[in-house]
């Protein structure tokens, strides 16, 4: 990062991938215009960036690529507000800005040598994708024991990273449970059911295990008791929060929960840490 922590580094949109059949979610593969910016950009799965569009503003977006993937950054963006709507209409070759990496990351040191359960719902699967890619990389796979993924969306067309999901599903070094709330597709070969239900069926032990849980509030609300039933402590359940942000570096004052700033002290918190904070998120 340069000396001015508010100054975005210019990056080119290399590729745009429409992820979902409702066209609301697209992934943007970005490449820094300046080689030095790329060389100085060291990140870990769970961190985010401020994506800047000159004239529109900035948005905090989780990094969906993994540090093991060199030469580009991947951001998956849901079309929601002013900046995301504009970004969705941009084209390959256009220039945006990237500020980061920002925030903390999933507790990789703590999780080393442990089983990892990844539970995701809907479009909150971006930094989880980063985490899975990171753990499955040949250099890292041996650092973790069993890796299990439960990922669901409302319908097959709303799942992110479909090609990769099918690939992971075939591998024997990761247990992947893909699910949808409902589908009329007779060819659907995976699970049907809500994420908490599938979690209950597939996750039967908490021993030596950490759970990374990202999804809509309703999914988290019903997944938490399921995990607690098989013995997960609040320290073993790790979540990533969203909040309205501006500066991304803990200065502008808006993303606080109690005395923590989600942008700087988070976005990753254990359930135990969240329990010590006001429930104002």
């Amino acid at each position: 990062m340069n000396n001015n922590p508010y100054l975005p580094c210019p990056a080119r949109i290399e590729e745009i991938i429409t992820e979902t059949d409702d066209y609301n979610i697209k992934s943007f593969k970005l490449i820094f215009l300046n080689k030095e910016d790329e060389q100085q950009f060291h990140y870990r799965s769970g961190q985010f960036c401020e994506i800047s569009i000159a004239g529109k503003g900035e948005i905090p977006i989780g990094i969906a690529s993994s540090a093991t993937e060199k030469g580009f950054l991947l951001f998956t963006v849901n079309k929601t507000g002013v900046v995301t709507k504009y970004l969705h209409n941009m084209k390959e070759g256009d220039v945006v800005g990237v500020r980061g990496p920002l925030g903390n990351w999933f507790p990789w040191e703590t999780m080393e040598g442990k089983n990892v359960v990844v539970i995701g719902g809907g479009f909150a699967f971006t930094t989880l994708r980063s985490s899975i890619v990171f753990m499955l990389h040949p250099e890292n796979r041996s650092r973790f024991k069993d890796i299990t993924v439960v990922y669901g969306a409302r319908s097959p067309g709303l799942l992110l990273y479909k090609e990769e999901l099918w690939e992971w599903e075939k591998r024997d070094d990761v247990n992947v449970h893909i699910t949808v709330d409902a589908t009329e597709d007779p060819e659907w070969r995976y699970n049907v059911g809500f994420v908490p239900t599938i979690t209950e069926q597939k996750i039967t032990t908490s021993e030596d295990t950490y759970a990374l849980v990202c999804g809509p509030p309703i999914m988290i609300k019903f997944t938490q008791p399921v995990l607690e039933k098989v013995g997960f402590t609040r320290e073993q359940i790790i979540m990533s929060l969203e909040m309205r942000m501006k500066c991304g570096i803990g200065i502008c004052g808006r993303c606080n929960i109690g005395d923590k700033y989600v942008c700087k002290d988070g976005p990753v918190f254990s359930l135990a840490q969240l329990g010590e904070l006001p429930s104002e998120y």
Partner: protein, 345 residues
């Protein structure tokens, strides 16, 4: 550090001398109020103020500030790439700042200049500015600085502190920078023991005049969650109309927004003061808002100043007792009462 004397009739000369080397900001009367203004020539410095309506925080942290500029003209090589807006940080003096407002800038400093991130504009302005404080002979009825680690002649954050002793000022240099300023301003007469004694007495007298006291001793040890869930927030917030005046006049409120503004193909990224009293402050693009209710926002403001800041920085409360919010609130919400409620919970 030395104590010097500036005779009142020499004050103008002192300020003029400083203007040779510095941009000098000083209180000037405007209508019913006083405001810090850059002295350009015909302004009359008026030190007969209790305090300025707004603290001089805007001199380090402008209400609106261009951060970056950019061009959207696709034919230009640099289109869409943000560049720092060119800016100068001339050596400046804030003359006549009250001790509470100087302390407030120190309280804000931990936010803008922390071990991980330094706000470049804050740091440059801070480092190019000298602070000449003016002690308060007559604190207002709403002043409670002595309860929150300050005082009418508190020295924190100042380079020089002036004691108004009637026909002269005792100028107490507090830093090397302050010594230099006195030298540059042609102040050479040392204060004698009698004058120093008078200054000490003045200080004591002023402290004794402060009748407003708030308790703060239990805030640090209180559980944040217990305070958050306290039963009194609905009552505290009841009359609030979310006007944001308290945050606007507060010398320690630092929250800001960042916005892009474009005219034709030329654009700026700007930051503006913002306020936690406004629902838009925390509104997510999805429509979700963690502080959609007025009571949540009122609680946030007080919890930030009197608890979160205390816990985060171990630097006391983020309030200097200037009383501006007490005086300006249109519905008479009084932070002193909130101090009591929180401390005594």
């Amino acid at each position: 550090m030395s104590d010097k004397i500036i005779k009142k009739e020499d004050l103008e000369r002192f300020i003029k001398a400083l203007q040779q080397d510095y941009e000098v900001y000083a209180p000037v009367k405007e209508g019913d109020y006083y405001r810090f203004q850059l002295l350009k020539g015909d302004e009359t410095v008026d030190l007969n103020f209790s305090n300025t309506q707004l603290s001089p925080k805007s001199l380090l942290f402008p209400q609106s500030e261009r951060m970056f500029e950019f061009n959207l003209d696709e034919t230009k090589e640099e289109a869409h790439i943000l560049k720092e807006a060119p800016k100068e940080f001339p050596p400046s003096v804030i003359f006549g700042i009250r001790p509470c407002d100087a302390k407030a800038l120190r309280l804000m400093n931990v936010n803008f200049d922390n071990p991980e991130f330094q706000d470049p504009w804050w740091v440059k302005r801070r480092d190019s500015t000298a602070f000449i404080g003016l002690g308060c002979n007559e604190p207002r009825s709403t002043c409670f600085c002595t309860s929150v680690g300050g005082g009418p002649f508190h020295e924190e954050g100042l380079d020089i502190l002036l004691f108004d002793l009637g026909d002269l000022y005792l100028a107490k240099a507090l830093t090397d920078k302050g010594e230099r300023l006195l030298e540059q301003g042609g102040v050479s007469e040392d204060a004698d023991a009698d004058t120093k004694k008078k200054a000490d007495a003045l200080k004591q007298e002023a402290e004794d005049k402060i009748t407003s006291h708030v308790p703060t001793d239990k805030l640090k040890d209180k559980e944040a969650l217990k305070l958050f869930d306290a039963p009194f927030w609905d009552e505290v917030a009841f009359a609030c109309i979310n006007c944001g005046t308290c945050t606007f006049v507060c010398p320690t409120c630092w929250c800001f927004d960042i916005q892009d503004e474009v005219q034709k193909t030329q654009g700026d990224r700007i930051r503006n003061w913002d306020s936690c009293m406004f629902p838009l402050f925390t509104l997510h693009a999805s429509g979700h808002n963690p502080r959609s209710e007025k009571v949540q926002r009122v609680r946030q403001r007080f919890m930030h100043k009197l608890k979160y800041y205390v816990d985060k920085y171990d630097n006391g409360v983020a309030c200097v007792g200037c009383g501006r919010c007490v005086n300006s609130c249109p519905v008479n919400i009084d932070i002193r009462e909130v101090f009591r409620l929180m401390n005594e919970l």
